[in-house]
């Protein structure tokens, strides 16, 4: 496809006006991974947590009710679908919108915790993610202004997109997908519904892999 080595053979194309959703080997592999992780998030039960007293051999087992993690699970599944959209879409602006949606869902997963420190970190992350919409939409606007289209299908292989737009796009996705840094700081791994935090890491990884593809193709 596009005679570009990164994409591999073309598997599926849906010519839908200017916006052409497509599956190459690359994006199809990403989409398959996303579907697997959506399923895991939907059917997994929250783990039983164990708090170990440091320096001793005492430990406390916590039972977490499924109702406690309902919101987190919903957000994790929503995050999965937003990631799926970002991976599959053939339009730069739709990609940026899906990236922002992934950011919102990540924020939701983190904010479900009632711990003040976790909420504080979530707030700081949210500020970064919101500010990141400036380079993200700015890049889409510059691509539209210089090439007159936002379709990756049309832009592929032309090299018409200015370097500045590509830099801004990566910067914006970094702002949206930088959540792992914050949750590393925010001890959310020990909070309720910790398994769903995996979805934040996973969506960030997928979005980064997709944006690398987009930047190399357009």
């Amino acid at each position: 496809m596009f005679d570009l080595s990164i994409e591999g053979p073309e598997l599926f194309v849906l010519p839908f006006g200017d916006i052409v959703p497509y599956f190459s080997t690359y994006t199809a592999a990403l989409a398959g991974f996303v579907l697997v992780f959506i399923t895991i998030a939907a059917i997994s039960l929250p783990e039983k947590q164990v708090d170990i007293v440091f320096g001793g051999d005492a430990y406390v087992a916590k039972d977490i009710e499924p109702a406690d993690t309902r919101f987190t699970r919903f957000m994790a599944v929503a995050c999965g679908f937003a990631t799926f959209g970002a991976v599959v879409t053939g339009d730069v602006f739709n990609f940026t919108l899906f990236a922002v949606m992934v950011g919102i869902c990540n924020l939701g997963i983190v904010a479900a915790s009632r711990n003040r420190h976790v909420l504080n970190a979530a707030f700081q992350y949210g500020l970064v993610a919101l500010v990141a919409s400036v380079p993200l939409f700015g890049s889409a606007a510059i691509i539209l202004a210089t090439t007159g289209t936002l379709s990756i299908w049309t832009l592929a292989g032309l090299g018409a997109v200015p370097l500045l737009a590509k830099i801004l796009l990566i910067l914006g996705v970094m702002g949206e997908g930088i959540a792992p840094l914050y949750i590393g700081k925010a001890e959310i791994i020990r909070a309720q519904g910790a398994p769903f935090v995996l979805m934040i890491h996973f969506s960030s990884l997928m979005i980064f892999l997709r944006v690398i593809e987009i930047v190399m193709v357009i």
């Binding site: 904010a111 009632r114 909420l119 993610a129 919101l130 500010v131 919409s133 539209l144």
Partner: protein, 200 residues
């Protein structure tokens, strides 16, 4: 067109630099939350600068995601600071519903009077429902009952005129129209008072 775009781009870049600089200076979380909205508006500004139909179509989804993110962030802020209202008075505890209803209700009632008859009553009634839902109804309840009663009398009177003195049909029709306006208004107003308060 492209020169205009470049000039606009420089202006937007200047605004973005100012907005980001204010981020560095500001340390209060609430103020930073408000400043992020400024940044999000700048993002929309960049899209709007392109000035084509496609750009116009992109503004709305951009605005929607920016607002939804801002709302999520505000919710996190409220949770974080623990400043949620202690008691929630009603689902309609919204600032604008305290200031707007008088004007909106007046407009709807006047328009209803101009329409007259059943649709007029419905429009005027909607205005009064809106007013009562927003403002409460402690003293106005009896007034509605009285008006409804007089409307009933007027309605019956119009029928008697129709039957006894058919030559005065125009008077009867106007009377019936006015009465049914009042009647429908009063009926709909009662819906506005049905909010489960102790005097309903």
């Amino acid at each position: 067109m492209i020169e205009t775009f470049h000039i606009g781009l420089y202006a937007a870049a200047l605004c973005i630099i100012i907005a980001f600089f204010s981020f560095i200076k500001e340390s209060d979380d609430l103020h930073r939350l408000i400043l992020t909205d400024l940044a999000a508006i700048m993002a929309l500004f960049l899209i709007a600068l392109v000035g084509t139909d496609l750009a116009e179509a992109l503004i709305l989804p951009g605005l929607v995601v920016a607002i939804s993110k801002l709302m999520a962030l505000s919710e996190v802020y409220i949770m974080k600071e623990g400043i949620r209202h202690n008691k929630e008075n009603s689902v309609l505890d919204i600032e604008v519903l305290k200031s707007a209803p008088a004007i909106l209700a007046a407009i709807l009632v006047i328009y209803g009077i101009i329409l007259s008859g059943f649709p007029g009553g419905a429009v005027a009634g909607v205005g009064i429902i809106f007013y009562l839902i927003c403002k409460g109804h402690k003293e106005r309840f009896e007034l509605i009952e009285t008006a409804s009663g007089y409307a009933w009398v007027g309605w019956m009177l119009a029928f008697f005129i129709m039957i006894i003195i058919p030559s005065q049909w125009f008077l009867a029709m106007m009377l019936a129209g006015g009465a049914i306006l009042l009647k429908v208004t009063a009926k709909l107003s009662l819906i506005g008072t049905m909010r489960g308060d102790n005097n309903v």
